[in-house]
């Protein structure tokens, strides 16, 4: 039993749930309070303002979506082929537990681009220095394909993330219930690496 979850944490968890669902503008602090089962004033007592609370949730969400994956993509000790498997695996795992993380982050950026310009410049590392980009570049050269390695990474991320962003739509169009959708995702867990590798002739 984790009964001893503090009020402060309860509020953040509730905020996270509602913010990810409704976005910043669509969220009312009263909804967060209700979800957390606390008095509205406690939100301001612990977090000062809706904005501050949002900042924290967003910060953690960005980390959750990017940190692990960047470490994975940048790892020097795994070869390209395994790295592709691991990356897809990792993303699907993270997103199965946080299905609306991508849409949340992307649409908050769209609604407020200036605010994120600085925040996303987390690593001052040029993308050319990321290990997987180098690995892809080498492989593309060796098969004589003259395209930017970025295309490959974008493909991997697109094919993995998009189904989550479009989940409600996909379920309707594909006539899938939750179980069928999960099955669809598990198929993609296997297929996406195969497709990426076939592009790279790996």
């Amino acid at each position: 039993m984790e009964k001893d979850i503090t009020t402060e944490e309860k509020i953040k968890e509730a905020a996270r749930k509602i913010f990810l669902q409704k976005g910043f503008a669509g969220t009312r602090t009263r909804d967060i309070a209700e979800e957390a089962g606390i008095n509205l004033a406690l939100l301001n007592y612990y977090y000062r303002s809706k904005e501050k609370l949002f900042e924290i949730v967003m910060e953690e969400s960005l980390k959750q979506l990017f940190l692990k994956i960047i470490l994975t993509l940048n790892d020097k000790s795994t070869d390209l082929s395994s790295k592709i498997n691991i990356a897809v695996d990792l993303y699907i795992d993270i997103l199965k537990n946080n299905p609306n993380l991508p849409l949340f982050i992307l649409s908050e950026i769209q609604a407020n681009p200036e605010k994120f310009k600085k925040k996303i410049g987390f690593s001052n590392v040029s993308f050319h220095d990321v290990e997987i980009i180098k690995q892809i570049k080498i492989q593309l050269d060796s098969i004589g394909l003259e395209i930017s390695p970025l295309h490959i990474v974008v493909n991997l991320i697109s094919m993995t993330i998009f189904p989550f962003a479009a989940k409600p739509l996909l379920k309707i169009v594909g006539n899938m219930d939750e179980t069928a959708f999960n099955h669809f995702l598990e198929e993609r867990r296997v297929l996406i690496p195969l497709w990426i590798k076939s592009i790279l002739k790996l």
Copy 2:
């Protein structure tokens, strides 16, 4: 000169611009009025309410994103290979002119799933009856690949749409300005059909 654009139209255009950028909850009717250069009361005079105006903008946005593409995918007179080219072409053209259309639609659905359950059931046509699905099924059978044709369509749409949804992020990560980003898109216009066809061994 199209000087004779009516007030009613001016409001809708302004609404479209702001709604697509900020979403329903993030948009204030005052911003729409300002963008349109009209008195706030005119918005309600012509459209009754923010909701009604939004409904109209959303209706048109859905049509814009889905109608042409569905007609394209469902066309019986084009073979699979050309259809893949045409679909990617069409999507990139539409989205170049409306870069935040996808994120707008997807996030409004996420924020309000119930409301769209019925609205998206536009065609009661099962996805199995859509021509491109049949064409893909035939091709997959002929190469002995036992996967759902939906995967292929999802790949095509993912790889095409996602770069628009992630545009601000992509520009930062890939060190691209607007011109470079457009160039990136034009490369994908050619590449995506090749990748899809390679999956299908076409």
